[in-house]
């Protein structure tokens, strides 16, 4: 090494300078940023991931009367939900009919602040929906499928209107994803539905990181934060 031709004292000074610079400009800022930006996935919002979708129910006069909502829990959450309700799988890995009914009953009791996961707007105005009805719970291929209907307070004619259904839960405790193609039930007339999946925006990452810090019992500051990350169904009727 060519180090020997340099005076040791000079070396020491140079190294001191390198070290001080490294501490000041590299190590300290790095520690701070890493410390501050670390998300905590262990207890992050969202906590439960649900696939599913919304089907549209029309009457004979091509008026929209109800939304049929489907939730598909993931396989692990399904088992936890069963266990938390004191239920067990049978020896075929399925659910006995009595247990299924018990679970259906338990899951039909909605919390008071439940917002129903389907949020419909027509020309930007929120459409009033009735409380969930006709709940159905089944275990299919290891996943719990929960279905319920949300009737419209007043049936709507959609032709020429700009209608949209967003699939989310406002506090983002549940993350919903539209995986089912929307179906038209009844006399839909000339309607078409297009799923518009949520596309992550780099601008959202600070918010996502902040949400990731929230525990199970906490509610985000923005009470409608779930809407920001929602998959949507765009409806157009001729």
């Amino acid at each position: 090494m060519g180090a020997s031709i340099i005076h040791p004292a000079l070396w020491r000074k140079a190294l001191r300078a390198i070290w001080c610079a490294a501490c000041l400009f590299v190590i300290a800022p790095m520690t701070v940023t890493m410390t501050v930006t670390m998300p905590t996935p262990a207890q992050a919002h969202p906590h439960v991931f649900i696939d599913g979708g919304v089907d549209l129910v029309f009457d004979d006069e091509t008026q929209l009367t109800a939304l049929d909502v489907t939730w598909l829990y993931d396989e692990f959450e399904t088992l936890y939900l069963l266990a938390a309700h004191g239920l067990s799988l049978n020896d075929q890995g399925g659910l006995d009919e009595g247990d299924r009914r018990a679970l259906q009953e338990a899951l039909s009791v909605w919390p008071e602040d439940f917002d129903g996961s389907a949020h419909m707007t027509v020309n930007g105005e929120a459409v009033a929906l009735k409380w969930p009805s006709a709940p159905q719970v089944h275990l299919i291929d290891g996943r719990l499928r929960s279905e319920f209907t949300r009737a419209l307070e007043t049936p709507l004619t959609l032709s020429g209107q700009d209608a949209e259904i967003a699939f989310y839960e406002s506090t983002y405790f549940f993350a919903f994803k539209i995986t089912n193609t929307p179906r038209f039930l009844g006399g839909a007339g000339l309607c078409a539905a297009k799923v518009v999946p949520f596309t992550p925006d780099p601008d959202d990452s600070p918010l996502l990181a902040k949400l990731a810090q929230l525990g199970r019992e906490e509610i985000p500051q923005d009470e409608n934060v779930g809407a920001l990350f929602a998959d949507r169904i765009a409806l157009s009727c001729g």
């Binding site: 790095m30 207890q43 692990f76």
Partner: protein, 297 residues
């Protein structure tokens, strides 16, 4: 001198790797993997329930992998282990031992808590989750913050001692060079760190108090589905997966400390670097754990 160059290169490489990693993306990747392994765990549980051959293996593979990627997120004392590796003169072997022990004790504690809670005091699944997340998690963060405080305190004490010593030997120019060549310098002068059983137990406990939520969920499922033994074994395998990751952190933090000391030694700054890094690391640990605490409360 060659050692120093190698050390400097190694340290630069470590810093480059740390800087080039997208930590947010890594955390999200880990989260996706966790979900995938949770699904596999569920498949394992169903296979067990249906008495399929190879079900145990499928469950253990899923829980081991889950433990590993789950530990990638903060928590599990990963930053505590890393901090102690950087900020104390603990040996790599001992720190790997402590990291592994804390993961395993954490798994055993989860088993004792859930099975004990169900069998002895008939807690509900919700109460169990509440206990883990709202009582034990904050307790663990507080304990970890206390360890950070100890690191800061020892670092500050060392810096003051060094100052007093430098002052004392002001006229003895050879003193520093004589005892400051090589990485063994500070370790020899340090009061033994994490060498006592008591300190090791304190570290292990601070991490292990808080059982992992994934383990709790799996144990709740296993208890309810009458798969007690399989659930307990699966959670121990999960702990082994966590231990593997925290051991990697232990090894890399001790390596980083040694590289830093080797490169700083010729400048005579190594004791200062060591003490300062200890204070920094201690502050980071306190900051992180109190941050997590404020989130948990």
């Amino acid at each position: 001198m060659r050692m120093m160059w190698i050390g400097l290169l190694g340290l630069a490489a470590l810093i480059a790797v740390a800087l080039s990693l997208d930590w947010g993306a890594l955390a999200h990747w880990a989260l996706d993997q966790q979900r995938a392994f949770q699904t596999q765990m569920a498949g394992g549980v169903r296979a067990l329930k249906a008495g399929e051959p190879g079900a145990y293996l499928a469950l253990f593979a899923a829980t081991g992998a889950y433990g590993f990627v789950h530990a990638l997120g903060p928590g599990h004392g990963k930053y505590l282990v890393g901090g102690v590796g950087l900020g104390s003169s603990v040996s790599a072997t001992r720190l790997v031992g402590i990291a592994s022990a804390s993961s395993l004790v954490q798994a055993l504690w989860a088993i004792a808590l859930v099975y004990g809670g169900f069998a002895l005091v008939s807690l509900t699944a919700q109460q169990m989750t509440y206990l883990a997340e709202d009582i034990l998690a904050p307790a663990s963060y507080l304990a970890i913050a206390a360890v950070g405080l100890i690191l800061v305190w020892r670092g500050v004490r060392q810096i003051r001692k060094d100052r007093a010593q430098t002052h004392h030997h002001h006229h003895d120019h050879h003193h520093d060079e004589d005892c400051g060549c090589g990485a063994h310098g500070p370790t020899a002068r340090e009061i033994a760190n994490v060498s006592s059983l008591r300190e090791a137990i304190a570290l292990i406990t601070s991490v292990a108090i808080r059982p992992c939520t994934g383990a709790i969920f799996l144990l709740v499922i296993a208890w309810q589905m009458d798969l007690h033994m399989a659930g307990a074994l699966a959670v121990i395998v999960m702990g082994l997966g966590t231990a593997a990751l925290t051991s990697l952190v232990a090894l890399s933090s001790v390596t980083a400390r040694k590289l830093a000391l080797v490169t700083a030694a010729p400048s005579g700054l190594h004791t200062t670097v060591f003490s300062a890094s200890r204070v920094c690391v201690g502050v980071a640990i306190i900051w992180l754990s109190l941050g997590l605490l404020s989130v948990a409360l």
